[in-house]
């Protein structure tokens, strides 16, 4: 399988995250999956004219393109020209190149939320008029139209995340290389379900605080960050608290809220990222699939039942009160 990776309008962080793959490392994983990297802008030796030659072979049809990975959003500005990002040395915009190459690829993978939906590159009023490869925010149809499908019947595969977990990218590529990724393996935003069928809440180290609505007031408090600090891990998809990041972590274990970075339009939440919006003191936004009345009822019940240990630890930066010990029955 021949892979070409292009960095469009983004930060390069998904590539940097990819390099954090472990057991085995990223290079061995790709090689073992039979994936040959034709060119990657950060990792390949070829530069300048050598790269132009590879691109020329692909567009001429003399070099097969199996996996086209796009990292970063596609800049359309200024005024629809795409000149906010030129693919250097070629005199052509990235917009032009992706439009040209995507139909030639066996599969197209959007790596990261920028490539998938526009992401942070489109934050604020989207200064570079950027767009995702096949989505504009949550709306189907980006640079490529909603009906775009590859030869195997797959849309652009959105390995969303800001950044993506290296496992999400590598497992997607391995599934594609093995011919084992089917349309039904993608969710409604074309994200692979192997990570998108989980919520960030699953396995969150603050779960017990959540259960009793024992909330953190400030960043660095140990409590649940849903009520005050903007955490939307109960709504965000991702197995972030099931598989560790960098061997050990996740956003919530790091003491800061999940900002739903795998979702379209997460970059403009219409409130400060680290502050929960409230109406009449009640947080806006419910855990996924939770009926509102039940949530309110359970929340007030569990708040009333909160053990003293959690009340105190929730607003402390460390465990002040350890769990009560019980002696085994004789």
């Amino acid at each position: 399988m021949n892979l070409l990776w292009l960095q469009a309008s983004g930060c390069g962080g998904c590539t940097m995250s990819l390099l954090c793959a472990e057991n085995p490392n990223v290079f061995d994983t790709l090689a073992d999956a039979g994936i040959r990297v034709l060119w990657h802008p950060a990792l390949s030796v070829q530069s300048g004219a050598e790269v132009r030659a590879i691109l020329h072979q692909i567009t001429e049809g003399t070099l097969a393109l199996d996996l086209l990975c796009i990292e970063g959003a596609i800049a359309r500005g200024p005024r629809g020209t795409g000149r906010f990002q030129m693919l250097t040395g070629t005199g052509r915009s990235m917009l032009d190149w992706v439009r040209d190459l995507a139909p030639r690829a066996r599969h197209v993978v959007a790596v990261g939320s920028c490539a998938a939906y526009g992401g942070v590159t489109t934050a604020g009023d989207n200064p570079s008029d950027a767009v995702g490869v096949q989505y504009e925010g949550s709306h189907p149809g980006g640079l490529l139209p909603p009906e775009f499908l590859d030869a195997a019947g797959l849309p652009v595969i959105n390995v969303a995340g800001c950044p993506t977990h290296p496992g999400w990218v590598l497992e997607t590529l391995m599934l594609l290389a093995a011919g084992e990724m089917r349309a039904q393996d993608l969710d409604g935003y074309a994200r692979p379900r192997f990570f998108a069928d989980h919520l960030v809440h699953h396995g969150c180290p603050k779960n017990e605080f959540y259960e009793y609505k024992a909330s953190a007031r400030d960043l660095s408090d140990m409590g649940c960050m849903m009520e005050h600090l903007g955490c939307i891990g109960t709504q965000a998809v991702g197995d972030c608290n099931i598989r560790p990041w960098n061997g050990a972590g996740s956003c919530t274990s790091g003491g800061y809220p999940c900002i739903n970075c795998t979702a379209p339009e997460f970059e403009n939440p219409r409130h400060a990222f680290t502050q929960t919006p409230k109406i009449a003191g009640i947080p806006v936004g419910l855990p996924t699939d939770m009926p509102k009345a039940w949530f309110m009822a359970l929340a007030s019940l569990s708040k009333a039942a909160t053990p003293e240990r959690l009340v105190r630890n929730a607003v402390s930066d460390r465990v002040d009160v350890p769990p009560t010990l019980r002696k085994p029955r004789a």
Binding site: S17, L19, P78, P127, L219, G247, C251, G255, F273, T274
Partner: protein, 477 residues
């Protein structure tokens, strides 16, 4: 001999997009123009937002300098708030930042810079076979070991910063997570593992013996480890003379803590260190596709010229300090911090050898710094204090990213960001010409680079460009 023009791009193994235009005369570069061809408009995205959002948005300027951007934003907001982190929070921020910086240096050496020496053009060299073994892109045994060592070291970030890149752990008042005594042990253990890698693979000797090198001659005499392989190539290709710098260096001071900087703040010009005159920083836009006038970043604008006027050639503004371009990065930091090896390298040319040699030196010195920081962790202390953002105010956040001086300048009005300006290290190093026609540091360093007959992507140009370890996504942001 008549001149020729070359356009070099896509220029890879740099972070982000880069295009270099060369005028060739008599087999050498007569003049160069550096184009940063990507504009995203981060400064504009921030306008009107809650100031705290800068801590989420600015790290995402760059996936390789993400924590540097975080640290600068936290310092800028802290400056507005008049809030200083707790000492332990400051130490942990420094450790988190140091892990990113040393990983960036490692990535640069093994993945970005050294693969150029595997090229067939160097097949006759006595080091070529060994370099191929270690540094062949995506395959070399050194490249593989280095990404593994990097991933293992980043377990400190998983633990203390949640993830990398794009953490929210660094806040104006400290860090969001308090370590336990057992976690301090894990951090120390991870650092010992990284030291083992550095001493077995990169230096082939104790770190302290590399740090003890006093000058260029001693450096070129270093034979062990992957550093030794680079130095053999440096001798045979005379990398000391390639891409010489102007000897003007800037550092905002790395790892600011209550007891001082990890590596000193200052500017170096004419052989002396002096204070950085912060008011003398001006961003010129004469050759950038930006509208408006030259201004200090506290009063600067980012207004893209959508017509992309032909008198300009880059989205990058041209920062100048007292009217002159400054070079920043590991070499600048180590010169200003007074390390004798770095000072000697700068005196003897400050070129490719000096930049890469200083980066190796800094890898060794950062390891010692990280070990000290980890030893000093006091799990019983507070790692963060809270503060309130005023509705009005101005602040600056100055840090050292791996690639050099990074500054954020913020102005808050009615509780919202009214202005946010950023000058990144590569904005300094890869700036275009200014209104006086003064080229940026890379443009100047490229003049005189050899272009061999038939070369369309000249190797000397590649070595010089990559010796700066540019980060183009930060450059324009």
């Amino acid at each position: 001999m008549s001149g020729a023009k070359l356009v070099v791009g896509p220029f890879n193994r740099v972070e982000g997009d880069l295009e270099v235009h060369l005028d060739i005369q008599g087999g050498a570069v007569a003049s160069a123009q550096v184009n940063a061809p990507l504009y995203r408009g981060f400064e504009r995205m921030l306008e009107g937002r809650d100031p705290r959002d800068a801590l989420t948005i600015t790290p995402r300027i760059c996936g390789i300098c993400s924590i540097s951007q975080s640290a600068a934003a936290a310092r800028a907001l802290g400056d507005v708030m008049g809030l200083r982190s707790t000492p332990q929070g400051e130490g942990m921020s420094a450790l988190i930042h140091a892990v990113e910086n040393v990983c960036d240096h490692l990535t640069h050496f093994y993945l970005f810079f050294m693969p150029d020496f595997t090229r067939p053009a160097y097949a006759g060299q006595d080091w070529h076979e060994a370099v191929m073994q270690r540094f062949t892109a995506m395959q070399g045994s050194g490249a593989r070991r280095a990404v593994e060592a990097r991933a293992s070291l980043m377990h400190i970030l998983g633990l203390m910063a949640g993830k990398w890149p794009h953490t929210l752990a660094i806040q104006p008042g400290g860090v969001t997570r308090t370590p336990t005594a057992a976690e301090r042990m894990r951090i120390l253990s991870t650092l010992r593992g990284f030291r083992r890698f550095l001493e077995a693979e990169l230096f082939g000797a104790p770190l302290e013996s590399f740090i003890d090198l006093r000058g260029q001659a001693a450096l070129l005499d270093w034979h062990t480890g992957d550093a030794g392989l680079f130095l053999r190539a440096a001798v045979s290709l005379d990398l000391a003379q390639m891409g010489r710098g102007a000897g003007r260096y800037l550092s905002f001071g790395a790892y600011p803590m209550a007891g001082g900087f990890g590596f000193a703040r200052g500017m170096w010009q004419g052989g002396f260190v002096s204070e950085v005159p912060m008011d003398a920083i001006v961003e010129d836009v004469s050759h950038a596709w930006m509208l408006g006038a030259a201004a200090h970043p506290a009063r600067g604008l980012t207004e893209p010229d959508e017509d992309m006027r032909t008198s300009a050639y880059s989205w990058c503004k041209a920062p100048r300090l007292g009217g002159v371009p400054m070079e920043c990065g590991a070499l600048a930091r180590q010169v200003i911090d007074g390390h004798p090896l770095a000072r000697d390298l700068s005196v003897k040319g400050g070129g490719v050898l000096a930049r890469v040699g200083a980066r190796l030196l800094e890898i060794a010195r950062i390891q010692l710094l990280m070990e000290d920081l980890a030893q000093s962790i006091d799990p019983s202390a507070r790692f963060m204090v809270q503060g309130d953002l005023p509705a009005q105010g101005e602040g600056a956040g100055l840090v050292e990213a791996a690639r050099g001086a990074l500054g954020h300048w913020v102005r808050i009005e009615r509780g919202r960001i009214a202005s946010y300006q950023i000058i990144a290290p590569t904005t300094w190093n890869f700036s275009p010409r200014d209104a006086n026609g003064l080229p940026g540091p890379l443009e100047a360093a490229l003049v005189g680079a050899r272009v061999k007959p038939g070369e369309d992507t000249p190797l000397a140009v590649q070595h010089i460009v990559r010796s700066f370890d540019p980060c183009m996504v930060c450059t324009v942001h």
